[in-house]
């Protein structure tokens, strides 16, 4: 029951008509501000019932205040640094450096050809090898990537989608060579292809084949790699492509509902896999809105899992959030300013209760990070963790009229948008028709226009420009990486057991045409040193390739 607070309402009216009205006639407020200037108990439900049912306690339904009972007082969030470039050997050096600096989990960036299932020597790979991530052509590269890094001691997050199964099979095989049982492996594959069609673009196969591969990976991991997070659903990429905060939650949740339905349809029990679903959201720069977003998302997710899908385990209701600070708000102008933006974004994500985080380096609007800029990005997290005090109290902004009102509003808006998508036939239908893509573009365009018309100020871009004295050193990837990789592939193909490679690929082809789980056949091909491109070509032959809807 919402209290009426009659006296507060009266006092508010007096204040609005008195001192507020008086000053507004003399000194109007700055333009382009949110409509509501102040929040009071009138904007929130202050009843005991609301607290118990909608806010509650951390680690309990509805998870608004956090996923674990002790939150950062028990264990700080996992601190990652998204990195990978050039060859596996060079990236391995960077990972070892980062581990020495105190990262608590690795986050692997793959180059474009790897993400799209082409070997480095493929004509389409020209110019792209090792540029935005590390080039992985076969298990041999993966062995080099993790050389000297015991896989039972580290949690590894891998940004890989269409070929997620192939890369995870390689990871399992590396573990076996190190003597680490697959049951001990910890980490995440992104494995969220739906958002690739709408936002990130590294799709290979059509949606329905991708959905099958996602569900097959869920099923395989349940029995064989039980500690692995089998999907990391991307709200991040949707938001970075231009979506609003509400769209970030609603579109990614709608995608999640589609994956869950697929997994239920192949016979899995919700509590068998829901606890291994993880998320990646943006940590954007509007600190307070972001705090409310994380809280609203946790609450809405818990409700969907418990009430819609009937999940019974507490761990199934928990929204496991990795966040990445927003790359799209970083500016190429006065790039050192980005270090401050990243600090604010990271601070908001911590106040919002993220479980894991990767911070952008300040030079990322220009190039991939240097060792120095990557270190500063990590130090930013460490300063927040150990010096700011923000990690010492659980959900410290709860009870703020504004935060609670925003949490309610974001949850409500996202829920409505999810219902709208359901009425269209769900996420897959909304993607196939191009609807989601167009909605994201509309938001992106409005954002751009608001900057160009000065409604939104970006320091160093449309205000306080000039005086850019920064002299930033950039990482340059040697263009010979492609030649190095090409030579490695040639050498590999001359040494491997070709009969086993062909037999493994023939088996994979057969399984792809059936409804059997694809993982074991993929693992066999990987262990035979079939290349990533060979494996993906085999699957392309059966599944075909996705043809994009072109919206502008």
């Amino acid at each position: 029951m919402k209290e009426k607070f009659e006296q507060i309402a009266l006092e508010k009216e007096k204040w609005e008509q008195g001192p507020l009205a008086k000053i507004l006639t003399k000194a109007p407020e700055r333009p382009h501000l949110p409509e509501q200037r102040i929040y009071t108990p009138l904007d929130v439900d202050t009843s005991e019932e609301h607290y118990v049912n909608k806010i509650g306690f951390p680690g309990q339904f509805p998870m608004t205040r956090g996923g674990q009972p002790t939150m950062y007082r028990g264990r700080l969030w996992t601190m990652r640094s998204y990195s990978g470039f050039a060859t596996a050997e060079e990236s391995n050096q960077r990972y070892r450096f980062l581990l020495d600096q105190g990262v608590t989990g690795l986050s692997v960036a793959f180059d474009m050809p790897t993400q799209i299932g082409y070997d480095s020597d493929h004509p389409f790979s020209e110019g792209e090898v090792g540029k935005v991530g590390v080039a992985i052509d076969s298990l041999a590269d993966m062995e080099k990537l993790f050389e000297g890094i015991p896989l039972d001691k580290v949690s590894t997050s891998m940004t890989i989608n269409a070929p997620a199964m192939v890369i995870l099979a390689m990871y399992q095989a590396v573990g076996e060579k190190q003597g680490v049982a697959s049951q001990l492996l910890r980490g995440t594959v992104q494995n969220d292809n739906l958002k690739e069609y709408i936002a990130r673009g590294t799709y290979i196969f059509p949606p329905r084949a991708s959905m099958r591969m996602t569900a097959d990976l869920f099923a395989y991991c349940k029995d064989n790699i039980p500690k692995w997070n089998t999907i990391s659903l991307g709200g991040y990429h949707i938001r970075e492509a231009g979506a609003t905060m509400t769209q970030e939650i609603a579109f990614s949740f709608a995608n999640a509902i589609a994956y869950i339905q697929q997994a239920l349809d192949v016979g899995l029990d919700i509590d068998d896999f829901a606890g291994r679903i993880s998320w990646i959201f943006t940590a954007d720069i509007n600190v307070l809105e972001e705090v409310a977003k994380f809280r609203a998302a946790r609450r809405l997710w818990a409700k969907i899992l418990r009430d819609r899908f009937g999940a019974k385990k507490t761990s199934s209701w928990m929204l496991r959030v990795h966040c990445h600070t927003s790359g799209s708000v970083l500016t190429a102008q006065q790039p050192i300013n980005n270090a401050v933006r990243v600090a604010l974004q990271a601070f908001g994500a911590v106040l919002g209760g993220t479980n894991s985080m990767a911070t952008c380096a300040f030079d990322e609007a220009l190039s991939i990070p240097t060792e120095e800029s990557a270190t500063l990005a990590l130090r930013t997290q460490q300063i927040i963790a150990y010096e700011s005090g923000a990690a010492d109290i659980i959900d410290p902004l709860a009870g703020s009229y504004y935060i609670e009102a925003m949490t309610d509003k974001i949850e409500r808006d996202a829920e409505e948008l999810i219902e709208k998508i359901e009425k269209m036939g769900g996420a897959v239908a909304a993607i196939e028709s191009g609807w989601m893509q167009n909605e994201i573009l509309n938001s992106a365009y409005r954002h751009q226009i608001s900057i160009e018309q000065g409604e939104r100020t970006i320091v160093g871009v449309n205000k306080f420009t000039g005086g850019d004295v920064s002299n930033v050193n950039l990482t340059k990837v040697d263009p010979s990486v492609r030649d190095v990789q090409t030579a490695k592939i040639r050498d590999l193909k001359s040494r491997r057991d070709e009969a086993e490679v062909q037999a493994a690929l023939a088996e994979l082809h057969r399984v792809a045409e059936s409804t059997e789980n694809l993982f074991p056949a993929t693992l066999r091909a990987v262990k035979a040193y079939a290349t990533l491109g060979e494996i993906c070509d085999c699957l392309r032959d059966v599944f075909g390739e996705y043809v994009a809807v072109k919206t502008i």
Binding site: M112, I116, P123, K131, R200, T202, L441, Y445, T551
Partner: protein, 135 residues
């Protein structure tokens, strides 16, 4: 004689980041140009063929993956091979300042880096086309 300026907006290479390309495409369209968007993963050969087939005045490329030094000049070469070397070629994306002189030497008329207002690109195209007698 005046005709509407026709622009092919395209994404060469494997990069999937198309927010910039689509926002620019829409801004060019709102500025009155005829805009054709190719979608992702276009090879230089495909881009040149599309530019010729669509009879465009401008090819506008967007790339954030770092492959610009390889792919932008290849597009210029392919246009020449198709007898369409007169098409204005421009580019944008995450491109370090230090790479811009190289790209210009290889036939890319202008490069727009992050933060460029869409109006700057629109004005640039208008001016360049006016000099060529296209409005």
């Amino acid at each position: 004689m005046s005709k509407t300026i026709r622009v092919l907006v395209t994404k060469p290479g494997l990069d999937g980041h198309d927010r910039g390309a689509k926002v620019v495409a829409r801004a060019l369209r709102d500025a009155g140009f005829e805009v054709i968007y190719t979608g992702l993963r276009q090879t230089p050969e495909q881009i040149a063929a599309a530019a010729v087939a669509e009879d465009v005045d401008v090819v506008a490329m967007s790339l954030l993956s770092g492959a610009h030094n390889s792919l932008f000049p290849r597009v210029v070469e392919c246009l020449k091979e198709h007898g369409a070397g007169d098409i204005l070629v421009i580019g944008g994306g995450v491109i370090p300042e230090s790479d811009i002189p190289f790209l210009k030497e290889h036939g890319v008329a202008e490069v727009f880096t992050p933060g460029t207002p869409t109006t700057v690109t629109v004005d640039y195209i208008r001016k360049a086309m006016a000099e060529r007698g296209v409005k």
